[in-house]
Amino acid sequence: MTDKQVLGLCRDADTTARAVEALEKKGFSGNEYEILTAIPYPEGTFGEKPGKHRLYIFPFIGALCGFSAALLLTIGTQLFPPLVTGGKPILSIPPMILIMFEGTMLGAILFTVIGVIFESRLFGPKLGLYDRRITEGFIGLLITASPERITEAEQIMAGAGIADFKHSLTGGNNK
């Protein structure tokens, strides 16, 4: 069955926190709700668990890729053709270190950005069920669940003090 969504909106962090607490008591898991805010509240403000992520792996992979690419580039440009200058070794290590450093850092930074986009699921302009008042300071509590659970969720949120709701069937609109 297609999941439905409901978005509860309120101004107050305490009300949202109460609503989340009540939802969890009724068996709603962390996967079923999302909190949308205009600013980053301290972790745990709404009783949510800190999400697991793999962002830290990205810069390491990027650094490795950047380093390898720079290594190949610097070695390649010196070996083709291998001109001997003043009896010095073909591969000139200190300049290679400099270019490899830049390559490593570029790789790390590029992959970090890719990582944050990927891990934050920022895949395109589609917003799902959303309300533009969120960037005005409203806090949104978005529930994604089966239709019967959605009604229950709305009641729980209303019980916690949330009065403003928006609904969507298949991911919602963007008004």
């Binding site: 600013i39 980053p40 709404f46 440009t77 270019i99 830049e102 590029l110 950005v113 005005e136």
Partner: protein, 457 residues
Amino acid sequence: METEKNITEKQLHKDLLAPVFGFSRRFWIAAGVLSFVLLAAGLGFTWMLIKGLGVTGLNRPVMWGFMITNFVFWVGISHAGVMISSILRLSRAEWRLPLTRAAEVLTLMALFTAALHPIIHSGRPWRTMYWAFPYDFSREIWPNIRSPLIWDVSAIFTYLISSTLFVYIALIPDLAIVRDRASGIFRSIYGALALGWRGTNRQWQLHGIVSVLLAALILPVFVSVHSIVSWDFAAVTSVEGWHSTIFAPYFVAGAIHSGVSAVVVVMALMRWFYGWGKYLRPEHFDAIGKLLIAIALGWFYFFSMEFIFGLYSLEGPEIALRNMQIFQPPWSIFSIVFLLTAFFIPVSLLLFRKVRRNILAMFFLGITVNIGMWFERFLIIVPGLARKTPFTFDWGTYRPSIAEIGIVAGSFGLVFLGLLIFAKIFPLVPISDQKEGQAFKGEIQIGRVKIKTTLQD
């Protein structure tokens, strides 16, 4: 005098989004003036393209003049963003909040402008393609990675990409704010740029981590860029005054000095031009003024070391060069102007709190430092080349042509026009950061005083 007030969310949006959504005659006048200045560069450049490098004042032995000086100058200014944004972010200095974006964008514009200069300087810009990227399999021509000029290309390229991404990632929450207020095609464009940002917990959590991570990653790049630019000179043994080990940190310290001073200028302009007195308050100027004192002292230490150890070995050519820089006009005049404007005047004035909190005074001090720092680069580059060395037959001097002066003037137009256009399209003061600062500030009462508190965790 303005003090920090509670600003409502509505007011904040109205103030900080005004340049993006509003129509301002000022904007068009400023853009027109700056375009006119930029035209000067365009004319100078076009004339040079048609006639060749002969229209410049460059001639043996001085083959690096105004354009390379300006290149080093703008690379220096480009250190503003990372200094303000990364270092202050990592050290949790709260006063940085309204300045970060303008400083970061200044970095981008300055770096882009800087990167144009060596290309213009080559006289035949299309040839730089063969010089920097000659991956020509058929003729087996490859770049010489032993050359500091190639290191330059790799460092500036890395820094430009990194700074752009740094600005973009920080901009995403603000793009969502603009998206939610835009309509029609603009809503789609900003929506696409905001990548579907909704402000979920996860998005904010990762955004916070990536801000710190990128700040930490970009710092070494930031240091490497001007160090590598300095090795363009320091690697050369044949030019007096260039072959010094201290050049790398000396250049980096100088870059931070001029970059942060340029941020002061931009801050004052933002305050006047957009009426953002509520956001860019005297306390911000005070804090950046204190920072400038520390930076200036550090820079002056490196300058002194460079100078003392230049003379240290008592080599004839080196003494002759210093003699020329200090006692022979016009170099002596430039040296006096440089020392007074880059160090003695600003530092002695910045010691006073009243000066640091006076916007007009800070604006002029920011300009003063940059005049001095421009001359510093000029005095490093040109006198050394003008002196006869064992490897040149000529002993000549340098006089910039009108084309070069036009290009230098135009570069200022380009940077400020870039900033102005950016501010027309994107919020120049980070709105989300401002909101965050507002939401999480607090006060504690101790005795009769109230002291502002900030979030520590």
